[in-house]
């Protein structure tokens, strides 16, 4: 894989379910190699659909998708050789133990790195002989992550693995993920709707709403270029993105400005506010008429 070439790409990607329901519309993305990208959006924003088109589980209605330059729908086997996938609400086999899952992975994928996956689980104190059914939600997610890491794939696609985990389990999961990605030089795309977790672990941020990309940039840039204005504050210092209700009932407006210093009525936006501002802007967009 060429280091310059984006590892995950889409061009004008659209996905429709049935006759009318558009999950994605006109998605253009190019993710560079390395680091962790957060894919953030509310439920039904199209996060899972986007990830599944990259894994080859969904066929685009329009546009194209590529993973390492390979079209997943035309060469699924080639793509799966590059990708480790953690499905939404990781489901393990009830009748199998943790070690059985690793053995199963070896049978399904002869190059699966069982010792590496086992080592990751040992570090977390997850016993191999424990039945999958008796694992906690956090442990199940860790086993699913270990299965994805054991593929030693260069690209990890994680579809909301944090959704059902408690804060401590989320923290542990993200620690294992960041450690693995940094040490292996892999590229990870993590979908989530929990922005605080994303802030700790991710380098890049994609905000997806109503099936469209609302924001795509590095976390550092997103924080540096977005400002919050409270009720009635002048917005001449930047471009208004979207407004939403603050914790005290006040109306907050997210502004974008390349200026490095804030005006007197502005303060720097948190990542959560950046996401909320873009999601609010997405709500104001018309529905899928153009698709």
């Amino acid at each position: 894989m060429n280091a310059e070439q984006p590892v995950l790409e889409t061009h004008d990607l659209a996905k429709r379910y049935g006759r009318r329901t558009w999950a994605l519309t006109g998605i253009d993305l190019a993710l560079p190699q390395g680091g962790i990208t957060a894919l953030v959006g509310p439920n039904a924003a199209g996060k899972s659909t986007l990830i599944k088109t990259w894994v080859g589980f969904e066929r685009p209605t329009r546009g194209s998708v590529s993973v390492g330059g390979i079209d997943p729908w035309k060469d699924r086997s080639g793509v799966l050789g590059l990708v480790g996938y953690v499905p939404q609400s990781p489901a393990l086999y009830d009748g199998l133990s943790v070690n059985d899952h690793l053995d199963l992975a070896v049978h399904l994928r002869p190059d699966f790195d069982r010792p590496y996956a086992r080592q990751r689980l040992d570090q977390l104190g997850i016993p191999g002989d424990q039945g999958a059914k008796s694992l906690s939600g956090g442990q199940q997610a860790q086993v699913a992550l270990a299965l994805a890491l054991g593929t030693r794939a260069r690209i990890l696609l994680l579809d909301e693995p944090l959704a059902s985990l408690d804060p401590l389990a989320r923290r542990e999961f993200l620690h294992v993920l960041t450690d693995a990605v940094r040490s292996d030089g892999a590229t990870a795309l993590l979908s989530s709707h929990i922005v605080t977790d994303v802030e700790q672990a991710c380098d890049r941020l994609i905000v997806l709403g109503v099936g469209r990309i609302l924001l795509h940039e590095t976390v550092a840039d997103a924080l540096a270029t977005h400002w919050m204005a409270a009720d009635g504050a002048a917005s001449s210092e930047g471009t208004a993105i979207g407004s939403f209700g603050g914790p005290g009932g006040e109306r907050l407006t997210l502004l974008r400005s390349e200026s490095s210093s804030a005006g007197p009525n502005l303060r720097q936006a948190s990542l959560e506010e950046v996401v909320l501002g873009y999601l609010a802007s997405g709500r104001a967009l018309p529905g899928e008429a153009a698709a």
Binding site: K52, V55, F57, E58, R76, S77, L80, G81, V83, G84, Y85, V86, P87, Q88, S89, P90, A91, L92, Y93, D94, G95, L96, D100, D103, L104, A105, H107, L108, R109, F112, A144, L147, A148, T151
Partner: protein, 326 residues
Amino acid sequence: MSRIGSWLVLSFRLHRWEVLASVLGTALLAAAMVWFTWQLRTLAAAEPACLDPTTYVVACEQSPQRFYELASFAEGLSSVAWVAPFGMGLVLGVPLVSREIEQRTAGMAWALSRSRTSWLVRRVAFAALVLVSLLFVLAITSEMQAAAQMPTRHLDQDFAWYGRRGGLLVVRGLAALGVGVLAGALVGRVLPALLLAAFASVLIFTVISLGMDRWIEADAVVMATGDPEGGRYLGERVELPSGELVDYGELGRRGLSIEVIDEEDRLFARPEDVGHPERMIGWGRSLIVPGRLYPQIVLRESAVVGGAAVLLALAATFVVTRRRPG
């Protein structure tokens, strides 16, 4: 543990309830058949002459009665053996894909395995191995029981208990497995898939059975009505005085209705039917495939059902490689 051994253990753990239910059912049925075989053989060995229908021995009056009572129960078991391949094929086949989709494990498994086809082949191979092993046991025990029940007949050239004994059980089971896997892959939920597969099995095997009857009709011979020992009865025909052989539907289309059949199997029309002043239409005849053709017909049906199993497996592969994991 070897790679194959490890795969067998994992596959068993994934399908333990279906496998255990199939093993238990087979063990009970096979044990019952062996017991009846032993009982029937014991009775037959005690008074061999009693089972010869051409002779009458006064001392045999009790023994055959007991023999035929047991044989009647044994025949009930052979009916279970007829159903077993369908039941076991569906029980083992339906969950292979549908449960993975229903319990959301398909996403993980299909992402780990680079080829869904090889994933499916491994799954189906295990189920087929279990099914063939169990049905092989039933095929043998049902043959033994049939031989014990009909000690004076040569069952290798006899259509008695057709489809309830021998290799056909195994081939039919494999086709039912194919129906189950395909239905499971299409529906993606175990219970609805099981119902669909049961309905589809009835349909598919009825079509195959009717098709086979049409195919082997060319090998049938015309015989006087009655019970042709060892032959396969395909239906009634009427032999007209001209020598033409027609079925009863054709008689109706020609405006003839039968009023009476005498002891010599002669058919007489109603007086008002035109063109038959003598009123005799012809002779009642049976269309029979001779027992000597039994091995050939079993082979033919095995090829057809086996071909259907392969087609069903290919269709299931097509569906699995294209469907969403749920």
